[in-house]
Every structure is written in structure tokens, then in C-alpha cells.
């Protein structure tokens, strides 16, 4: 069982890595990191600020796009193109397929993030000529970005199990936008009344809490990220992804593969 999952994960990774689209997006992200060095020079004293803000935002956004892009290929595209049939005709459980796919994609994204991080820190080093202890928080911000990838991938996978590639992408991206304002949604919920309140309270707690993963402006100002936040965010990402995977498995196990 474990070998099969590992095999599927590795195959997913291999397939993703050889896809040229991935490279283009990574290159583009790195270009933006580089260009932020130029933008920073426009106003004195904020070069590091601009680099961190712009660079990390680029990594985050492009990474999300990549995650969705490949994520929708996980199941939707496989069904459309029928690559799935020959895999499932083998002694592979459907749930193993889901878990393996997810693992492969998370691996891909982590490697991506790694490359983009290297580019980013290279730019930072070029700018400041040495690393400071406060730069450690940049790693935390990057770690949170990777957690975001994990979440969005799990969501893209979930939508893949029952809708077309395009709709999966739309749903996943919509949830990303909504999740970015999750804290505001909860604020809104606490101020409303009646049916609206009940609806808002429920929805605002079920949407993925992307808001808490964005600490970019904090670390840009060299503010510390509390250890407790790192701990809870990690747990949240793991749990939420697990929920998405469980739902994916439940749907996928029952689905007619037309």
C-alpha cells in the first residue's frame, strides 16, 4: 500500500516537473523578485521593505496560481484525458490515488517554493550584503506561504473530484480570495444579527483562513511572528487539508468515471 502511494506521488512529481508551464511561472516569479530590487531604489531607505513586500507577494501569488494550475490537473484532467482508467484498472485503491496525488503535488510545490526562496534570499543578500537575525522571520513568512500552497492544493484536489478543470480552478481561486478576508468576515459576523449572523458565523469559520498565513508586511517591518501562531497555523493547515482529502476520498470512491 505505501509503495503504491509513494509510486503515485513520485509519478505526479515527475509529471509536474517536466511540464514547461511550471518553469515559466517560476521564472516569472523570480523576475519579479529581481525587479523589486529596482523598484526599491526609487525611494531611499525602503529597498528592503519593497523587496520583501513585493518579492514575497510574488512568490505567494504565483505559487497559488501554480498550485491551482497543477492541482486541477490532479483528477479533472486525468478523467478528461482518460489517463485515470488504466491506473485504476490496476490494484490501486481510489483513496490511494488521491493521497498519492496530493503528496506528489505538495512535494512539487515545496521544491518550487524552495527555488523561489533561493532566488529571494539571493536578492536580499545582494541588497543588504549580510543576513540579520531578523531575517529569520522571513523564513517563517515563507513557511506560511508553503502552508498556503498545501491548503489551496487540497482545495483544488477536492473540486477536481467532482467538477471540470475550469470550474475547479474558479472555485479554488474564489476560496483563496474569500479566505484572505476570513478575519473580516468573522468581524462582520459579530456585528450582524438574525439569520445573516448565523449564516456569516458558519461560513466565516468554514472558509480556509488564508488571512492568518499572510505575515508579509509584519516581517517586512522586522516584526516577530509569535511562536504560537506558527504552531496553530501548522495544525490548522494539516487539519484542513486532511478534511479536504477525506471529502475528496468520499466523493471519489463513489464517483462514476464516465
Amino acid at each position: 500500500m505505501r509503495n503504491r502511494i509513494r509510486a503515485i506521488a513520485f509519478n505526479t512529481f515527475r509529471e509536474a516537473v517536466r511540464d514547461r508551464v511550471l518553469y515559466n511561472l517560476v521564472v516569472f516569479a523570480l523576475l519579479i523578485v529581481g525587479s523589486s530590487l529596482i523598484f526599491g531604489q526609487i525611494s531611499i531607505g525602503v529597498e528592503r521593505l519593497v523587496l520583501v513586500n513585493l518579492g514575497m507577494t510574488a512568490i505567494s501569488l504565483f505559487g497559488i496560481v501554480i498550485a491551482i494550475f497543477i492541482g486541477i490537473g490532479l483528477v479533472s484532467k486525468e478523467i478528461e484525458k482518460k489517463t485515470l482508467y488504466t491506473v485504476l484498472a490496476r490494484p490501486v485503491h481510489r483513496w490511494e490515488f488521491i493521497v498519492g496525488k496530493f503528496g506528489g503535488l505538495v512535494g512539487t510545490l515545496t521544491v518550487n517554493a524552495g527555488f523561489m526562496a533561493i532566488g529571494f534570499f539571493a536578492a536580499l543578500l545582494y541588497l543588504t550584503h549580510r543576513f540579520e537575525p531578523a531575517d529569520g522571520y522571513l523564513l517563517v513568512a515563507l513557511y506560511f506561504i508553503v502552508l498556503e500552497f498545501v491548503l489551496i492544493t487540497a482545495l483544488a484536489l477536492l473540486f477536481s473530484t467532482f467538477s471540470t478543470p475550469l470550474m475547479s480552478a474558479v472555485f479554488a481561486f474564489s476560496l483563496f480570495v474569500i479566505g484572505t478576508f476570513a478575519e473580516d468576515l468573522r468581524g462582520f459576523a459579530s456585528m450582524s444579527t438574525g439569520v445573516t449572523k448565523i449564516a456569516m458565523e458558519t461560513v466565516s469559520r468554514l472558509v480556509p483562513n488564508f488571512a492568518a498565513f499572510n505575515v508579509i508586511s509584519q516581517v517586512a517591518h522586522s516584526q516577530a511572528v509569535p511562536g504560537r501562531l506558527i504552531f496553530y497555523n501548522t495544525i490548522y493547515a494539516i487539519v484542513y487539508a486532511a478534511v479536504c482529502l477525506a471529502a475528496s476520498v468520499l466523493i471519489f470512491e463513489r464517483r462514476d468515471l464516465k
Binding site: W95, F181, D184, Y240, V243, A246, A247
Partner: protein, 306 residues
């Protein structure tokens, strides 16, 4: 069958996981409390936010507006004295959407009042309202709010009178703006004027928090009035009897009043060392009379300047 076991495990993960995620979410919110709001301090300028909003400034303005109200409400509920983020939040809101009149109104009251009822920065409040007037010349009510700040918090009745006058010139302004201008020119510091202004605010706004605030103000004015009358009575008593009454029962027994007077909260007024005092001053913000000895009015303006 394998499939049933898988279904069971997956369903269990789904249910337990969802519950766990909500619990963790709660913890995250605790740690993050105010983080999203504190970020507003690091925005180099409100203009930057506007540029970054990619044209969705209306939506973003609503988001910042919601955050501002929630921020204030939350801190107020916790009896905090720190409202330092209110100004940048309202600044950002009104830059993103200069026509969001409720934001100016909110700021005119809650930026101006002293903590814990506000940020205690009437100058900032006045500046905000002036910005609102610039962006919305047809909004005559903003002149009203400006005049109000200048009179109530900045203690400058002549400036206030001018504001009301300017506002009365705007097409559509109601006639009493001119009346107020005149009244302020003559009769600054009058409790009647104050009552009139707060009544007006109460009636003309739909914002729940502003209305509650106005009610508290009116209650405080009423209390001040009653305290003054009672004080006069016991001073008289002292002159006649040679000592202050120890309680209002004594005034009842000599037939000067019919029953023990109650403050707006429903508690009886008390007499301490020849002074009329309210039973629970902490619950009656905005009163200026009837405070126990040694304590100061919680809402005396701190900088009586322009």
C-alpha cells in the same frame, strides 16, 4: 469490504477534522488579535493602499470601514483606553472611498471624545471632517459635525458658530443650522444647546453606536441638571438648618421634595459631605456634576485649543 472501511475512516476524519479546524481557528484568532488591524500602521500612506487596491477601492473601503467599527466596538467593550488605530483606519477608509459619509460621522464623534469613550483626539476628528467636507461639499451635515466638535471638545464656540453658518449656506441645509449658528454665537456652554445638538444627532443617524452614545450624552446632561437643582436645595437647607442633610429623607420629611430622586440609571442620588453625588459614576460617562470628591470628570477635554 474495503470500501466500507475507507468510507468510515474518511467520514471520521471529515467530522473530527472540521471540529478541530474550528477550534484551532479560534486559537489563531486569539493570537492574531488585531494583527490585521495593526498592519494599517505600516501602510506608508493611504494613497498607497488606494493604488494597491487595483480599482476595487470601494470594496476595500468597506472592509476597512468594517474593521474600524469592529476595532472601536471591541476595544470599547473591553473598557480599553487605547484607540490609536482608529485614526489610521478611518483615514484609509476615507481615502479609498471619500464619499463614505458614515465614516466621517463616526470619526467626528469617536475620534473626538476622551477615552474610554473615544480616541481623545478632537483635532484629528476635526481634520477628518474637514476632509469629508472637501470631498463632499453638498453634505451640509458634515458642517454640523465639525461645529459640534469645535464647540463640545475644542471649546471654541465662535469657530463652531462659523461652521454652522457655513453649513447653513449649503443648498438643502435645514433652517435650524442658522438657528444653531446664532445660538452658539450668543450662548455657548448652554446645556439647552447641548441637549438640542445631541437630540439632533440621535435622530439624524442610523448608526447604532452613535445613537447609544447620544443617549448617554443626553442622560448625562439630564443628570447634571438634576444634580445642580438638588445641590441648590441642600445648600438652602444648610443655610436654614445650619448643617447639610445626611440624606434626602430629611428633605422629604420637611416637605421640600416628594420622593428620593433617582439618577438616569435608576439609583438614588446620595449626599456626601454636603455634596450631591451619583451612586455609580463609572457607569455614567459624560457627567460633569455629582462626581465624588477627588475624582475628575472622565470626559473633560484635554486640549482646549483650535
Amino acid at each position: 469490504m474495503q470500501r466500507n472501511r475507507v468510507t468510515f475512516v474518511a467520514s471520521a476524519v471529515l467530522v473530527v477534522g472540521t471540529a478541530l479546524s474550528i477550534v484551532t481557528l479560534h486559537k489563531i484568532d486569539e493570537v492574531r488579535e488585531g494583527s490585521a488591524l495593526r498592519e494599517v500602521l505600516w501602510i506608508p500612506s493611504a494613497q498607497t493602499v488606494k493604488r494597491m487596491s487595483l480599482g476595487y477601492d470601494g470594496l476595500l473601503a468597506d472592509i476597512y470601514w468594517t474593521r474600524a467599527v469592529q476595532y472601536f466596538g471591541g476595544h470599547h467593550h473591553a473598557h480599553s483606553t487605547d484607540y490609536q488605530l482608529l485614526k489610521p483606519l478611518l483615514e484609509t477608509t476615507t481615502t479609498l472611498d471619500p464619499h463614505l459619509i458614515p465614516a466621517y460621522e463616526f470619526g467626528s464623534i469617536f475620534l473626538a471624545q476622551n477615552p474610554p469613550e473615544g480616541a481623545g483626539d478632537p483635532t484629528a476628528a476635526a481634520d477628518l471632517v474637514k476632509k469629508g467636507i472637501r470631498e463632499n461639499p453638498e453634505a451640509w451635515r458634515l458642517w454640523y459635525h465639525l461645529g459640534f466638535i469645535q464647540w463640545q471638545e475644542l471649546r471654541n464656540p465662535s469657530l463652531a458658530s462659523q461652521s454652522f453658518l457655513e453649513g447653513s449656506k449649503v443648498p438643502g441645509a435645514l433652517p435650524w443650522m442658522r438657528v444653531m449658528a446664532a445660538a452658539l454665537a450668543q450662548n455657548a456652554g448652554n446645556a439647552e444647546t447641548a441637549r438640542y445638538l445631541w437630540m439632533n444627532i440621535y435622530q439624524s443617524t442610523e448608526d447604532k453606536m452613535i445613537r447609544e452614545n447620544a443617549l448617554k450624552r443626553l442622560a448625562a446632561l439630564k443628570s447634571d441638571e438634576v444634580v445642580q437643582k438638588l445641590q441648590n436645595l441642600i445648600d438652602q437647607y444648610q443655610q436654614q438648618q445650619g448643617h447639610y442633610p445626611s440624606s434626602f429623607q430629611e428633605l422629604i420629611s420637611v416637605g421640600w421634595i416628594r420622593r428620593v430622586p433617582l439618577d438616569p440609571l435608576g439609583y438614588p442620588y446620595q449626599i456626601q459631605n454636603g455634596r450631591v453625588v451619583v451612586a455609580r459614576p463609572a457607569e455614567l460617562p459624560f457627567i460633569t456634576k455629582g462626581l465624588p470628591e477627588g475624582s475628575q470628570a472622565s470626559n473633560m477635554p484635554r486640549n482646549p485649543s483650535n
